[in-house]
Symmetry: C2
Subunit: 258 residues, 2 copies
């Protein structure tokens, strides 16, 4: 496919690289920050532009990978006659793209992207929505061309997926940060936690997390819980989180025992 | 080494197997539940006993791997003349073992153990404490004999490690459970989350989690956060957790921006 990209952040960069490596032709990379557009465009052998009005019309797909609250506005400024337009956002309805092109859709990679690491897209679900079956077919083929798995998910489902991702990925990562801080405070290396973090993730590749739950809260071990709350007396915010999460575990698992 | 084991739960089972596979001789497996003791003892080519008083005295180490609140009591019933005694608990001081044997210590595997999966001990830190340098040397050799890494950590450090593990492992796993439930409610497969869970863990093998943080809270994206809170109106407990975790992320990262 001939693909143009609006955006130069982590999603734009990693998807752009994946398309390029899979043999797609990248036409334009558009970013209001000239340096960002130029750097990604050079890497992808494409042209750098600064304004959406400058997109080459002779393209098959224009992918919008910018901040959620900018999507609607940039889409309104587009008037593709032939190309499809798709955005990559979990929480934005497809319909904001209506009017930007005859065919439009959503190409939401259900994966986490950071600048420092090439994500494993060969395992990633791509949650797709399309204005017509023809558009769906083309978006599916695109996802599969970069070794992703294509799933058809409507806007309501995608909203829910995004919420679940925040909980299982963003919040989880924040817990890693808080745990690292607690070790550093005591002069202990955060590296000690790494095998445990990996094993915790590996376990739920094999079993439901409900079955894999361990720790003082699921045993309702009050002595250990009280000791941990005492250790958190200097961090009232984290102490509150500890209480809520422990209560949530105990409630869920005790309910199940009945 | 000649090793006896008190307990037949996940920690006793997985450590027992690791010792057995590495060529140690397992003497006795003691559990008040006869079926459990017999089953583990058969697997480890050992003798099953039901009472701590029945341990063969001719052993090098008696490992106590029972529930935290039972350790002190079982240790009081022991009177080894020659063998070392060690427990495997994160939150219990070493000193509860005083009097159980001339040499004693702590052999705390910093890893998560579930019945359904053989944990990767070759990557696991073993946090050790000992009543003498000689005991420390023997516990270190034991950890290394099963391909673990030995670390000397005192009771205060171990208490802190256990707290960090609860946060980074037990709470994280619970977030996986809550996210799965949200998908199932909407008819979506929890399997969709698995690549994301794996990638989130993989990322912090390469970078500090603070650097790896993504999502609406770190961008302070109020529109998305408000939408997620609306989706959680039927789950007030989880809604509260979402608010607290988002505020914790926003506070930590905004503080850093200044």
């Amino acid at each position: 496919m001939r693909i143009s990209i609006l955006g130069s952040g982590n999603v734009a960069t990693h998807l752009g690289r994946a398309f390029f490596r899979s043999g797609h032709k990248i036409i334009d990379v558009c970013s209001p920050t000239p340096g960002h557009a130029a750097s990604l465009a050079t890497e992808l052998n494409a042209r750098a532009i600064q304004k959406a009005g400058d997109f080459d019309q002779d393209t098959d797909l224009c992918l919008i990978a910018v901040k959620d609250d900018a999507i609607e506005e940039v889409a309104r400024g587009m008037g593709f006659q032939k190309a499809l337009v798709a955005h990559t956002a979990g929480s934005i309805p497809m319909e904001v793209l209506k009017g930007s092109a005859p065919g439009y859709g959503v190409f939401y990679p259900f994966q986490t992207f950071s600048g420092f690491r090439e994500p494993d897209l060969s395992e990633a679900p791509f949650c797709l929505e399309a204005s017509s079956p023809g558009v769906m077919r083309r978006l599916s083929e695109l996802a599969e061309s970069i070794r992703g798995r294509a799933y058809e998910v409507d806007s309501a489902g995608r909203r829910r997926l995004h919420l679940a991702a925040v909980i299982a990925c963003n919040f989880t990562n924040h817990l890693y940060t808080l745990a690292d801080e607690l070790l550093q405070e005591q002069g202990l290396s955060p590296e000690l936690l790494r095998p445990l973090i990996m094993e915790t993730a590996e376990k739920v590749m094999e079993a439901a997390p409900f079955e894999a739950q361990t720790g003082p809260a699921v045993r309702n071990d009050r002595l250990v819980i009280e000791d941990h709350l005492r250790q958190l007396e200097h961090k009232p915010e984290l102490q509150e989180l500890y209480k809520l999460l422990s209560a949530s575990i105990t409630n869920l698992h005790l309910k199940d025992d009945k």
